[in-house]
């Protein structure tokens, strides 16, 4: 990662030789001035040597390409990858620990792995490893979010992919490369046992949880290749967080309202919080739970084992509107008495 800007692109910050003089003139060794030595090679008085290069490119395009490759890889292997985002301390790691242990109980042989993003410590990955699930810590340093390339790198070091293959997820060609841009051969294999994972829904063949850096702003913009973002909000925070950080809640597939065991001691207005979340994202799904005492955890586990399905409330709304339209039409077209 580039330590200067934290961008992870590996570009150099070496000093390029800046021209010491006015842009349209070059000074040679004898002190002579050369005008019009630019690409055009002609000097047109009053016309600068500037030209325009049209780029029209997405600033996040490079990240998005890496993310697309990750997504292809996850999908082809039936890996459900989720990107957990929240403010610091809302309970991501605690929730992950309880989730992993509960999943172990329900599906002892389901391959699991965790990527832990943090600016500084390795503490969270160690907490995960204590559950027996492999975890890799990514320290972002000054960086306030994970990016898709970090995920590619971390995923390649996790045993999840090997575990899937050990569980019978075989490749057609043993020399098959997993990082190329070709569609993964798995989805084309005729009798492939995981081919049903290539599309939405169904029980995943494995799960990858990514705990992003505690920050509700920056991670909203960086696609990691996940199936969906899960925004975790705890009841010790303000109920208006969805309105204060609308980009994140708009980007999330699921909101988890955590620490509900504390509700009796607080005056947190749950309904208002849910309304705000739906206001920025009418499609968002919501699960209320306590990572500490396990209340509500089953709904979350069911959702995970169902492959984190998106609920198309929009389609339902469209159907409603169409029915209404049909009713109105029938009224208008009805013969007058």
């Amino acid at each position: 990662m580039c330590v200067v800007c934290g961008c992870g692109t590996g570009h150099s910050h070496d000093k390029t030789e800046a021209p010491a003089t006015d842009s349209d003139v070059q000074v040679d060794a004898t002190g002579d001035l050369h005008y019009g030595a630019g690409q055009a090679r002609v000097s047109v008085p009053g016309m600068s040597q500037a030209r325009t290069i049209r780029l029209e490119q997405d600033i996040l395009g490079e990240n998005d390409r890496h993310a697309a490759r990750n997504r292809e890889n996850f999908t082809a292997h039936g890996v459900l990858a989720l990107n957990l985002v929240s403010s610091p301390g809302s309970g991501k790691t605690t929730l992950l620990c309880s989730t992993l242990m509960a999943l172990r109980q329900r599906r002892a042989d389901l391959p699991l792995a965790v990527i832990e993003g943090d600016q500084q410590t390795r503490h969270d990955a160690e907490r995960i490893r204590e559950t027996g699930v492999p975890a890799i810590q990514i320290n972002t340093g000054k960086g306030c979010h994970l990016d898709a390339r970090m995920i590619t790198e971390a995923y390649s070091r996790l045993p999840l992919h090997d575990a899937l293959h050990a569980a019978g997820h075989t490749h057609q060609s043993p020399m098959h490369s997993h990082v190329d841009q070709q569609p993964h051969a798995h989805v084309q294999t005729q009798q492939h046992q995981h081919s049903h994972h290539a599309h939405d829904g169904g029980e995943p063949a494995g799960m990858l949880f990514i705990e992003n850096v505690g920050n509700l702003v920056c991670p909203a913009l960086w696609d990691l290749g996940e199936a969906g973002k899960v925004a975790i909000l705890s009841v010790t925070e303000g109920e208006d967080k969805p309105l204060k950080y609308p980009d994140m809640f708009a980007a999330a597939r699921l909101m988890i309202l955590n620490k509900i065991d504390l509700l009796p001691h607080l005056d947190f207005d749950v309904q208002r919080c849910l309304d705000y979340a739906r206001q920025v994202n009418p499609q968002i799904q919501i699960i209320q739970l306590s990572a500490r005492d396990g209340t509500g955890l089953d709904a979350w586990l069911d959702w995970l084992l169902a492959g984190a399905p998106a609920v198309d409330r929009r389609a339902a709304r469209i159907a409603e509107l169409e029915a209404e339209l049909a009713r109105l039409k029938a009224q208008v077209e009805a013969p007058h008495a």
Binding site: C5, K15, Q49, I59, L60, A220, L243
Partner: protein, 115 residues
């Protein structure tokens, strides 16, 4: 402060452009950051200016266009302005809004000098 990494991404894109089609400096960089793109314009400008010295962007004028938020209201079946995420439809007050504009985050063009 993800604007810092966005600025790094912009600089990388500029350097890549210079490898394809060499130039020595950028005199003007034109960006587009929609009002719903999740980017603080002033923070982005600050980050670019902090990063610029010693790079192709040194001394470049930075113009950032901000396309306004626009959304399709499912209930009204019209396109409406959307000032910010979470704001209601100005017609019906509802929230069934699909942003259709203002989410752009792009480098438009560079004015470059060859010597």
């Amino acid at each position: 402060m993800h604007e810092v990494s966005l600025a790094g991404g912009i600089l990388s894109a500029v350097e890549a452009a210079a490898r394809r089609d060499p130039f020595v400096r950028v005199s003007r960089l034109r960006l587009e950051a929609g009002t719903l793109a999740g980017v603080e314009i002033e923070a982005l400008r600050f980050a670019l200016e902090a990063l610029a010295p010693g790079t192709l962007l040194a001394g470049a004028q930075i113009d950032i266009e901000q396309p306004p938020g626009q959304a399709w209201c499912l209930d009204c079946a019209i396109s409406v302005p959307l000032i910010e995420r979470g704001a209601g439809c100005p017609q019906c007050g509802g929230f069934w809004l699909q942003p259709t504009g203002g989410t752009e985050l792009r480098i438009l063009d560079l004015q470059v000098e060859d010597h």
